[in-house]
């Protein structure tokens, strides 16, 4: 089965980022294909490398980055949502004149069309949110 996963909430505030992660991990371990993970609304905050959780807590952002590296995942932060919330990669920094970037490894910033395309190309869309 080919899956697209949509994550609508940021890390720590809601369990949805955790549920989406464990669901993705289980799906991959069962041999399913994850076509894309699309982060929308506050979900784009899953992709900032500046997150510094206490040592005895899970590192949600690093966990995503590792999963992406292990399985060559396509993890997309919605550009409009990311701009509103200050998630910046090199391209966005240059375009919008920002003096820093904060995108975490394994993530990329792209348009909402990537979500729609995920819906078109996948057998299932699973949405995690508030």
């Amino acid at each position: 089965m080919k899956l697209t996963i949509q994550v609508n909430e940021g890390p720590y505030q809601h369990q949805s980022a955790d549920s989406a992660y464990y669901f993705a991990k289980a799906a991959l371990e069962k041999g399913h294909e994850i076509y894309r993970i699309f982060f929308y609304h506050d979900g784009v905050n899953n992709g900032t490398r500046l997150t510094t959780p206490p040592q005895d807590d899970r590192n949600i952002v690093a966990r995503w980055s590792e999963l992406a590296q292990q399985h060559d995942l396509d993890m997309v932060l919605c550009v409009a949502a990311a701009q509103r919330r200050g998630i910046v990669d090199d391209g966005e920094a240059e375009r919008n004149g920002k003096d820093a970037t904060n995108i975490a490894p394994g993530f990329r910033i792209s348009g909402l069309g990537q979500l729609i395309e995920g819906g078109v190309q996948s057998d299932r869309l699973v949405v995690f949110g508030d």
Binding site: I116, V120, V127
Partner: protein
């Protein structure tokens, strides 16, 4: 070979302004219109408030995005389902909502209503017939 057309349904269940979900959901619907899928949009529970007439955001410093719903017809989004029970529960009728229309090219651009008032049971059947369900 043409790509398979899927039935896409965007489900709106949240009120506007208090949270950003309604506005960002509308952005997805507008972008999605370019993908030539078979698109429907549903408004139920607090989502029906998104279509309320007379929204004026000048006092809260936010963009009033409600006029955009009236443009959905221009994006060939012509199937807008509004759930009857959700309206009734909130003391609303269709007259409290914007009048949304589309122009039918096949009938000399005749103006037709986009909103389909459906019961929860009917909406359940509509959802069952979809391929992909977007939620925000």
């Amino acid at each position: 070979m043409a790509e398979e057309t899927k039935k896409f349904m965007y489900i709106n269940r949240k009120a506007p302004y208090g949270t950003i979900y309604a506005w960002e959901a509308l952005e997805v619907v507008l972008i999605g219109a370019a993908f030539e899928q078979d698109v429907s949009v549903a408004f139920m529970d607090d989502g029906v408030y998104q279509l309320a007439k007379g929204q004026d955001t000048s006092g809260i410093g936010m963009k009033n995005f409600s006029p955009t719903y009236a443009a959905l017809g221009d994006f060939e989004i012509t199937k807008i389902y509004v759930e009857k029970e959700s309206l009734e529960e909130r003391g609303l009728t269709l007259d409290d909502l914007q009048h949304l229309v589309w122009e039918d090219e096949d009938e000399d651009w005749a103006e037709k209503d986009s909103i389909r008032l459906v019961s929860r049971a009917e909406l359940g059947e509509v959802l069952a017939g979809q391929d992909v369900l977007f939620n925000f």
